[in-house]
């Protein structure tokens, strides 16, 4: 009878052996990406710039600049809450036997177009455009959803990804984009 550690080491050796993957997989991948637009240089530069912006670096600020910054933050803290919409994005408006109708809301005063993208529409930027409500930069859309857990984000002007500030952030987005989670029903 093998020792416990031998048994485990033997299992690891077996698991390390190559797996049988269909030799046609490469061809299928290449055939599928033929119909996908070439990942262009423009978004690449955008993401490289974003990466550059995320990197830390020493910043020199004049006393006057520091004071202006502090005053700005104080104004935001004191009045920012009033400028934000009080609505609760992601809260179900109605619940039926089939699922819920969920309202998503984001404040984006400078945007000329906002889409809701997520697991429920295959992250399509065209499937769920949001509607501007009033003149204070609030965008809104309602979506019927079955019970489940969905990751989603707001796509502003087709290029800027925003997380929903009122919902839990995703921890598992494979592309490192900001995203949020809405859970419908009890899972």
């Amino acid at each position: 009878m093998p020792e416990e550690s031998d048994r485990l080491e033997q299992a690891i050796r077996v698991l390390k052996e190559p797996a049988q993957i269909d030799s046609g997989l490469d061809r299928r991948v290449m055939a599928e990406i033929e119909s996908v637009p070439v990942p262009g240089a423009w978004p690449h530069r955008f993401w490289m710039t974003l990466d550059w912006l995320k990197r830390g670096r020493p910043v020199r600020v004049s006393p006057l600049g520091g004071l202006a910054f502090t005053v700005g933050i104080a104004i935001l803290v004191l009045f920012g809450r009033e400028w934000m919409t009080p609505q609760e994005p992601g809260a179900p408006l109605a619940t039926t036997a089939q699922g819920s109708v969920v309202q998503f809301v984001i404040v984006a005063p400078a945007a000329s177009g906002v889409s809701l993208v997520g697991d429920f529409n295959d992250w399509s930027s065209a499937a769920t455009p949001m509607r501007r409500v009033g003149g204070n930069g609030v965008w809104e859309v309602t979506v019927p959803l079955d019970a489940g857990r969905y990751r989603y984000a707001f796509l502003v002007d087709g290029s800027t990804w925003l997380r929903d500030p009122s919902a839990p952030p995703t921890l598992d987005d494979e592309f490192g984009r900001p995203g949020s989670v809405v859970t419908i029903g009890e899972l």
């Binding site: 416990e4 690891i12 390390k16 797996a19 049988q20 993957i21 990942p39 993401w47 598992d172």
Partner: protein
């Protein structure tokens, strides 16, 4: 240069060629990573059909999002993270499918898995034991012991903390030993 003649070409160079519009250069990246990633997907999902779906989706998603790979020298790790997510999603979808099937007793009878004592091959016993692990600890075990990643690499790829990963690996080792022992005992009886 032919599309398969990429041995001396770095990942970053291939990524740059794809981004410059040379789609065929992506075949070099697919050829380079298919076996290693394929092994992980097969071990994680327990069958080749699901593993190939996950692998194909990961490669296509990787291509679509290639412009967002900000460190092309680490393309392999970046793609691995995409594959891990695809495996998690497919695993959950499969678990949901199985839950539905369980309501149908006839289907349950068909889908029932043989007890390990009915299996003779060592490989099948090991695969059975790995499949019994919960997905979270199975993932950590495979990344650590089969793919031989460091905890730092695992943290980058999975987003989990090192302490949590160490605990998952330890639990997986313990559980796997117990299952293998149980299967061995059943085989002797």
């Amino acid at each position: 240069m032919g599309i398969h003649d990429v041995k001396g070409t770095s990942d970053a160079a291939l990524v740059a060629r794809v981004l410059a519009g040379e789609t065929d250069a992506y075949a070099g990246l697919v050829a380079r990573y298919r076996d290693r990633l394929g092994r992980y997907a097969v071990r994680m999902l327990g069958n080749e059909a699901d593993a190939e779906d996950a692998l194909q989706e990961a490669f296509v998603r990787g291509y679509r999002s290639l412009a967002r790979c900000t460190d092309p020298d680490k393309f392999g790790a970046w793609l691995f993270a995409i594959l891990i997510n695809r495996c998690r999603t497919i695993g959950k979808q499969r678990a949901r499918r199985q839950q539905l099937v369980v309501q149908d007793e006839a289907a349950v009878a068909k889908a029932s898995v043989k007890h390990p004592e009915e299996r003779s091959a060592l490989r099948e016993t090991i695969e059975w034991a790995v499949e019994q692990l919960s997905p979270t600890i199975r993932e950590a075990f495979l990344l650590k012991h089969v793919e031989e990643l460091s905890y730092d690499e695992m943290t980058t790829i999975t987003g989990a903390k090192t302490s949590a990963l160490k605990m998952r690996v330890a639990r997986a080792r313990q559980e796997l030993q117990r299952l293998l022992e149980e299967a061995e005992r059943a085989g002797r009886e």
